[in-house]
């Protein structure tokens, strides 16, 4: 059982939890993830680690309340417990002095991106950070990221804040030479960023969170095609060369259980699980 010690709403339906998990807090590194099981009947879901504090014996992570499990998770309060957390899983990010790094974080993944930016700056990099969301209300950590980064941009899909879409990146890439790009966010965003950086020959690392069950190499549901070879997101990743990933296949594989996920969420709401009576 893992105790929630802090619970913060970052944006509508996006929450940041701080949880006591000493054995994970001691070992976690940027880029790694955990697997959460919320209760005895729960599924195993992977979430990227957004922070850790060995002294406080805690880890932090952010999630989007989209399915039954994350909605249930969102109802938990400080002092409540999560049934099981396994981690840290996956390979840590490669952190060293690359030179100039472009970081692009989207949606809920802005949270682990902040950890990434911190680590890259500590390693001596000059970091340009872009954070993005669908609409301006879903943006968070703007001040934190801005304060850390050498340059900072905001983008939204609808243009309600900052640039509209990510096309402006092409201009930035034309004007400035980067040594590396790190993209964390929705698959479509990572796909687009990778396409842009490929044109400019900038090595690009993307963080993939395909569907997982065990998260430690046993089931193979997280398989992705990278450079035409089968890789497992959990043990070979979660970070891969964005120029080699077959994003279209990944998008299809992420939707494999969409009808079941919707059913599960809907039934739970109808049964009053969300305390809203199905409204």
């Amino acid at each position: 059982m893992y105790k929630i010690v802090a619970n913060k709403e970052l944006a509508p339906k996006i929450k940041l939890f701080e949880v006591e998990a000493p054995q994970i807090a001691e070992k976690a590194k940027p880029g790694q993830f955990i697997i959460i099981v919320i209760n005895e009947k729960g599924e195993r879901i992977p979430i990227t680690i957004a922070g850790y504090n060995a002294k406080k014996r805690t880890i932090t992570f952010a999630f989007n309340e989209v399915g039954k499990t994350t909605k249930q998770l969102g109802l938990l309060k400080e002092g409540d417990y999560i049934w099981n957390i396994t981690g840290p899983l996956g390979n840590p990010s490669e952190i060293k002095n690359f030179g100039k790094v472009l970081c692009v974080g989207g949606g809920v993944m802005i949270a682990p991106m902040l950890l990434q930016v911190k680590a890259l700056i500590e390693a001596g990099n000059i970091v340009t950070t872009v954070i993005g969301a669908r609409i301006k209300d879903l943006l968070f950590f703007e001040e934190e990221v801005k304060a850390l980064s050498h340059s900072f941009y905001v983008a939204t899909d609808d243009g309600s804040k900052g640039y509209k879409g990510l096309d402006f990146l092409k201009e930035i890439l034309k004007n400035e030479k980067f040594d590396r790009c790190v993209a964390m966010g929705p698959v479509v965003m990572m796909k687009n960023v990778s396409e842009f950086t490929k044109q400019f020959g900038i090595p690009t690392v993307v963080t993939l969170m395909p569907i997982m069950v065990d998260g430690m190499g046993m089931c193979g549901v997280c398989r992705v095609s990278v450079g035409g070879k089968m890789k497992f997101g959990c043990v070979d990743g979660p970070e891969f060369d964005g120029h080699q990933v077959d994003f279209d296949e990944l998008i299809k594989r992420q939707r494999m259980f969409l009808p079941e996920e919707r059913l599960s969420s809907l039934l739970w709401e109808l049964q009053g699980g969300c305390k809203c009576g199905g409204k």
Binding site: Q23, I24, K27, I35, V37, K41, G42, E43, R44, K68, T69, W83, N84, I85, T86, G87, P88, L89, V213, D214, M216, G217, M218, C219, G220, V221, R223, V224, S225, M230, V235, E249, K252, R253, M256, F257, E260, E261, L263, S264, L267, W268
Partner: protein, 470 residues
Amino acid sequence: MAESKPKPKIKKEAVPIPKQKPEVRRRNFNEVALGYTEEQAREEANRCLQCPKPQCIQGCPVEIEIPAFIKLLREGKFEEAIAKIKEKNSLPAICGRVCPQEEQCQKFCVVGKVGEPVSIGRLERYLADWERAKGIKVPEKAPSTGRKVAVIGAGPAGLTVAADLAKLGHKVVIFEALHLPGGVLVYGIPEFRLPKSIVQAEVDYIKKLGVDLKLGYLIGRTFTIPELLKERGFDAVFIGSGAGLPQFMSLPGENLGGIYSANEFLIRVNLMKAYSFPEYDTPIRIGKHVAVIGGGNVAMDSARSALRLGAEEVCIVYRRSREELPARKEEIENAEEEGIICKFLAAPTRFIGDEKGWVKQMECICMELGAPDESGRRRPVPVKGSEFVMDTDTVIIAIGRTPNPIIQRTTDGLAVTRWGTIVADENGKTSIESVYAGGDIVTGEATVISAMGAGKKAARAIHEFLMNKK
């Protein structure tokens, strides 16, 4: 054996075990075999010749004194009979169900030379179930030795090592990577062959021995073996991490939706209880026409699970012939009784998907058997131009598992074979002093009981090592 005098009128046929009818059980996840009644158990026990030089024991990887427990059973001394088994085997309810007895103890049974061998496994199961129903007694433990052992993996090997060492007075902590204990007993073997409540009861017994169980600890990530030994105060480590990585075939279309590794399929169904979706959160999607690739016990388990999940038709596609099927005969019979179809001498060549990226067809090629390969079995050779296409919307790939590499990668100095298994001697000793290993991580994919046998030997060796230390 000529000098032994068999009792008169030994029946050639074993007492059959009552089972759920095939037409009923093919649609439920309840246990197939129902177990002997007391009367049936005593009747079957009476078939044992009580050989003065018993042959059966040599077939048992954990050396249970089989004639002795059978004698106690037929005398009605059930308490003593189960205690006799438990001297050697801490998990009798499991072994009575999933051991391939026909390849082990029963293969050597003298009665088997004239008729069906004594059903040793069913008798073991009877006694274990009898004990569980009345409440399991925890045996006396030796006084504490002050030594501490870390066991990696709560599967058959790890649970055996833990139980044996705990009884000898050592402090044991099991680190299990999944959120439930049991290893392959909970994620691999289906409920209808091994009810999970039985695994839980056996695990509870081991906990009552004072064993500490840490769930969700992936050794190699959460802690490494050097950390366990140097920083966390363990005097010895046993690695029983199993053969957990699925093999794929590198065929076009293998990443289409609806194509599962047997591991994924069975983990969803068994560990995550997807057959009770949406009460349980993990989904599984089963189409109408399921194809299972492979011919081992895992293939049978997958096929029979698919049927129970509502598939209209389940077809096992195996590249050799019926004679070479590696699955247990009993399980093949059970599967065919339930209506599983076997397509022999065929192997897939590619998978064809629909516009949504879901598998809809599988192209196969016919095989013929050529000269024997290194395994001694005749090698399947593709027949040129014999490709055919079968409609299928769910494919389960059950062609084997390889060792999980994470411990090998994070433990300096641990010798590994070219297949990725850990090098260990017959007592489980690895290339690192104080580190032992056993089960599938050493042998490659094998049986529950052979893992337990390896665990037993390793426990003895670890005990000796700990008692001689300093």
